[in-house]
């Protein structure tokens, strides 16, 4: 019988909350509000509080992110990406890039995609 769970490193599609959160945390630790604002800015996606913390809990369970020690404001606890989280995000990014490369090649838009800042 096939496993009914994603492997630890499988984060889903590029616009799914785990990928968005790890991408945001790759730039440094952030608390909930800072995460939503950053994700809004780079992906144009607004994650609701339920969705955000649902994903945070799952990522924390899988050891892909970890809470930072709380500072003066215990209610705004920042999270950081872990080593395992970095590995999982790298794998997801490679997979997305492969898919983007194939799509671009088949559409004959490799030049345009590259020009828009896609990594070669």
């Amino acid at each position: 019988m096939p496993r009914r769970t994603a492997p630890k490193g499988d984060l889903g599609r590029s616009n799914e909350p785990p990928v968005l959160i790890l991408t945001s945390l790759a730039a440094g630790p952030k608390h909930g509000y800072a995460l939503t604002k950053d994700i809004e800015e780079f992906a144009g996606v607004t994650l609701g509080p339920g969705t955000l913390y649902g994903a945070i809990a799952r990522l924390e369970d899988r050891g892909l992110i970890a809470p930072e020690p709380v500072g003066s404001d215990a209610r705004r606890r920042p999270y950081r990406i872990t080593g395992e989280g970095r590995v999982a995000l790298e794998a997801a990014v490679r997979e997305m890039r492969t898919l983007a490369d194939v799509g671009a090649r088949r559409l004959g838009i490799t030049g345009r995609v590259a020009a828009r800042g896609m990594p070669a």
């Binding site: 509080p49 649902g54 606890r77």
Partner: protein, 317 residues
Amino acid sequence: MTAGGYEHLLRWYPSAWRERYGDEMAALLEDTYAAASEVPLRQRASLAWSGLAERSRSAGIVGWSPSPDLRLRGGSLLVLCGWVFYVVAGAIFAKSADHWSSGSPSAGHWVATGGFNVVGAAAGGGTLVVVLAALVVLPAFVRFVRSGRWREVSRPVLVALGSGAASALLFVILVAWAHSLSGHERNGGLPIYGWFFVVVSLVFFAALACGTVAAIAVARRLELSHRTLHALGLMAVALVGVMALTIVSLVAWWASEAVHAPGFLAQVIGNGMPFQSSVVPPTLLVSGVLMVFGLALGLAGLVRIVGTLGRGGRAVA
């Protein structure tokens, strides 16, 4: 909105979740909506949905857990939820097929008779399995109460007991009233009795829902050994078998009636509201749909249980 107001919006989440993430989520809501002074209705609904999903996840009903015990527990609870749909469907079917043996010319037809009898026997068998499962977890429940944790489940259990008592009381009144009425009055001749019957049915269904919520609230907190969970898993597998048998028997009875006694189906209670049919009466349709939905839940639980038992109950990382 005050900090307490934001925290109140998180009441849908399980207590352990609120303890871990409640303050942070309240702070996020505060940061996001302080300027607007109100959390939009859509966001409130989304929080309620997410909270209920987390409750289901913590009970092992949705999502995937590496713990085999949690998978067995969740799978068994899913099957129980499916069975509740069967109870509602069975009650509707029983009322629809009231006086079937005397009112239908196909009563002697072996397919219809066999199907009808198997549905009745399956209902009894399924109820027996559920009662056995309750008896199996009873010692754990007693230990749970004795350990002083009753308060954690007191609200859903008391609501379930209250609604169950109300349902029983209304049922007694209904039966007493029915005894003083003629067959014609009981079957649509007296509208006020018909409406009272609907109210009693709705209260019964509500009590059933409250009972299920209470059972889940209790079951997810009980300390159950792997052996007990294994036994519950096997009972749940048997219950899914009963559910499948019921639906097959119901369809056989239904098909036989549609072919041999469409006149009986045309007279099934509730036919004509909202449509009239001598093949697919609305009440039987509702009963069938509920059974299909219940079976789907049961099968989802079955997959979880069989997958876990198939691995010998080992944890999967």
